[in-house]
């Protein structure tokens, strides 16, 4: 049992030294590079081929952030599913039926008892949606864990079953408009936190970054573990804060459209000066929801027993079982969690559309799975990160909306998305071969 690490035997290059000091995930750097490439590529394509680059504009990036939210929320759950060597093909359909039920509840049912526009309507609706999603997810998990039906089959059945149910809930009717408070969760000019709110959010995040770094360093000192060099701590903190504040500036530089400003001014007795009023959007509410979910899921995955068990099961299901982990119950809970997150996504998606339709969420399962996989979740199990999946969702959505922006037709969009998914998994395979 003798083995000395051979770190000292070879001279590390500057890059390796830098990565080791900062403890930055090389994968994440690769993903950020891919993202930058996509963004700049679409912008330049627009600039030179169409004569007008519109990708790297506050307006497009703001829209991109909103479009990504729904997929990102579900992708965080899909990470845990794939990490435990399962799959969930039903999330798009489950989103559809959940959105329909929430639509019926808030438009047809609750106003009868509470009156139209009652402030409790959106709260009851959202909670009911999340509870419904969690229940269906738990049911899927039960079939998989306790009856031993493979997840692929259960959720493939779910894909058809819940899409059919979504139609059946209201015989295919589109239910609109949704409750006005509920609609804010989908974004839109009113569904934002404005310039001041965004600054407050940004500053809170910066403070959290500093606190996390300080407390991390303190606990390493307490146990006498190796420390990052000070310059690396400053660099990480600096980059983190710069990105946060940059995002705030970006979101705040996208103003409300003139029509909305006029309406708003009229309603609040403000006179609009000739040069127009600059009212910032700031962060959209769905983006904040997605970030909150991402943070909570990261906490769950890395700081709790539940998360530790998820990864242990993914790494070696038999070992997890022998260590006394109730793997069946874990599977049920993981699928229930996926369902609950789908409920949140259904809220965002139907609120954004201001309507519930039975087609809502079609093909979302593919985007969600792609997001998780592009974000580094391995189908072999045991490996994956929440932030990776969120970045993956951003990559997928950037591709999708970039193609719309430069005018690729729907057929080509599908071909590109399919090709990217397969390529991403291939790159992942290569990466794993070289790193282990």
């Amino acid at each position: 049992m003798s083995d000395q690490t051979n770190d000292s035997e070879y001279k590390e290059s500057a890059v390796v030294k830098f990565l080791r000091a900062t403890e930055v995930d090389t994968r994440m750097l690769g993903m950020i590079a891919a993202l930058v490439l996509i963004w700049v590529g679409f912008h330049l394509y627009g600039e030179f081929v169409l004569g007008r680059g519109s990708f790297l504009t506050p307006r497009n990036l703001w829209n991109l952030s909103v479009q990504t939210s729904s997929i990102a929320v579900m992708a965080t759950g899909m990470v845990l599913i794939i990490v435990t060597r399962h799959i969930d093909l039903s999330v798009g359909s489950l989103l559809g039926v959940t959105a329909m039920l929430m639509g019926v509840l808030q438009v047809w049912v609750l106003p009868q008892y509470l009156g139209l526009g009652h402030p409790m309507i959106w709260i009851i609706t959202v909670l009911a949606g999340i509870a419904f999603g969690a229940t269906i997810g738990a049911f899927h998990g039960f079939l998989i864990a306790y009856l031993g039906i493979p997840a692929f089959i259960v959720t493939l059945g779910g894909l058809l079953f819940w899409r059919g149910s979504a139609w059946w809930v209201a015989r295919g009717e589109t239910i609109q408009p949704v409750d006005t408070t509920f609609a804010l969760i989908g974004g839109g000019p009113y569904g934002t936190v404005g310039a001041l709110g965004s600054w407050i959010f940004g500053i809170v995040v910066c403070a959290a970054i500093v606190m996390a770094l300080v407390s991390g360093r303190k606990s390493r000192i307490r146990f006498g573990f190796p420390l990052r060099p000070m310059w690396a701590e400053y660099l990480i903190g600096g980059v983190g804060m710069a990105v946060t504040l940059g995002a705030v500036l970006l979101m705040n530089s996208y103003p409300w459209p003139k029509g909305i400003v006029r309406k708003y001014a009229a309603a609040n007795n403000i006179t609009v000066p000739d040069e127009g009023l600059f009212i910032s959007h700031g962060f959209a509410i769905p983006v904040l929801v997605a970030l909150t979910v991402g943070l909570a899921m990261t906490f769950l995955a890395t700081r709790t027993r539940f998360g530790r068990y998820v990864f242990a099961i993914g790494g070696n299901p038999e070992a997890a079982e022998l260590a006394g982990i109730n793997t069946k119950k874990m599977t049920l809970m993981i699928f229930a969690l996926m369902g609950a997150l789908t409920g949140i996504s259904a809220t965002i998606a139907s609120a954004r559309l201001n309507a519930a339709t039975n087609a809502l969420g079609s093909l979302d399962e593919l985007f969600v799975i792609a997001a998780a996989v592009i974000g580094g979740t391995s189908f072999a199990g045991g490996i994956g990160t929440i932030y990776g999946a969120i970045l993956g969702a951003l990559v997928m959505q950037s591709l999708q909306s970039g193609m719309v922006l430069v005018g690729f037709d729907a057929a080509i969009q599908q071909m590109v998305v399919g090709g990217v998914l397969v390529t991403a998994v291939y790159v992942d395979t290569l990466y794993r071969k070289s790193s282990v």
């Binding site: 049992m1 003798s2 083995d3 000395q4 690490t5 606990s219 390493r220 307490r222 146990f223 006498g224 573990f225 906490f299 890395t302 700081r303 709790t304 027993r305 998360g307 530790r308 990864f311 242990a312 993914g314 790494g315 070696n316 038999e318 070992a319 997890a320 079982e321 022998l322 260590a323 006394g324 982990i325 199990g381 045991g382 490996i383 282990v436």
Partner: protein
């Protein structure tokens, strides 16, 4: 041809309550009786080797003790009182720890996470106390394998010996009273095998009872006080290692023939 019949020597543990006693254990998998009314016991500070061919039922019997399988019938007694063991968690509560042949490590997480798998240390806020777990792991590994330095790496990246020491550390860190070692040296080189032998002696001194499953008859005679041989799911017999020769033990394994120095069980070839 007739030799002077050797009789089993007196049981050194006579009159003492065994640390663990499995009585009349049976389990069947789809019509195949993997373990058929098997009984065996283990005393404090004793090393009992379980021997038998592949498929003789020794691993299955031991997995019933460690909670990985639930028996169809029979009882398990720990220090004289009947124990309920239907899952690994319960076995661990009785101080029964197992080092599996496959090591049963989650390859994608680090040594500390494996050491504490299922028994994580938590902070007052119910979150994982990774720093405390790593600090403890550094202490344990420092005793067991001072050369071990790769605390941050997933165990997949460790050598066979290092992985073995993580599995051993996990089994002995939580005050095991009964230790099950399933082919502990199968994947190890000579130096590491010797180390496992030393560890076995040390644990024995501390009064831990050890079930050893091994194919290596040399190993068994070096380490074990007693052998229990299984064939076709049944116990052929048990013997103090001093009362039988290696050839006789091989005869028990291969033919099910019980030598005079052994106490025959239900699986012994009729004389």
């Amino acid at each position: 041809m007739a030799k002077k019949a050797k009789t089993p020597s007196a049981d050194p543990h006579a009159g003492k309550t065994p640390l663990v006693e499995m009585r009349d254990i049976s389990i069947a998998f789809g019509g195949i009786k993997a373990v058929d009314h098997a009984s065996c016991d283990l005393h404090a500070g004793e090393v009992v080797a379980l021997l038998g061919h592949n498929g003789a039922g020794k691993s299955t019997l031991i997995k019933i003790l460690s909670g990985a399988y639930t028996r169809d019938s029979g009882q398990i007694y720990v220090e004289g009182s009947e124990a309920t063991i239907t899952n690994p968690r319960q076995a661990k509560d009785y101080g029964i720890e197992t080092i599996y042949q496959t090591l049963a490590l989650a390859d994608n997480v680090d040594a500390a996470a494996n050491l504490y798998l299922g028994r994580e240390l938590l902070t007052p806020w119910r979150t994982l106390d990774d720093s405390a777990m790593e600090a403890e792991t550094r202490k344990v590994m420092g005793r067991l394998n001072p050369n071990f330095t790769r605390f941050k790496d997933p165990v997949k990246q460790l050598s066979g010996g290092q992985r073995q020491s993580v599995a051993i550390a996990r089994a002995i860190h939580f005050n095991a009273r009964i230790l099950i070692m399933d082919e502990p040296t199968a994947a190890l080189g000579p130096a590491e095998t010797k180390q496992v032998g030393e560890l076995t002696h040390q644990l024995k001194e501390e009064g831990i009872g050890i079930f050893l499953i091994s194919h290596d008859i040399e190993d068994v005679f070096d380490l074990a006080d007693r052998v229990v041989v299984m064939k076709n799911g049944a116990i052929v017999g048990s013997a103090q290692t001093g009362d039988v020769t290696k050839d006789e033990v091989l005869g028990m394994i291969i033919l099910g023939k019980c030598p005079p120095g052994a106490i025959p069980g239900p699986g012994a070839l009729a004389a």
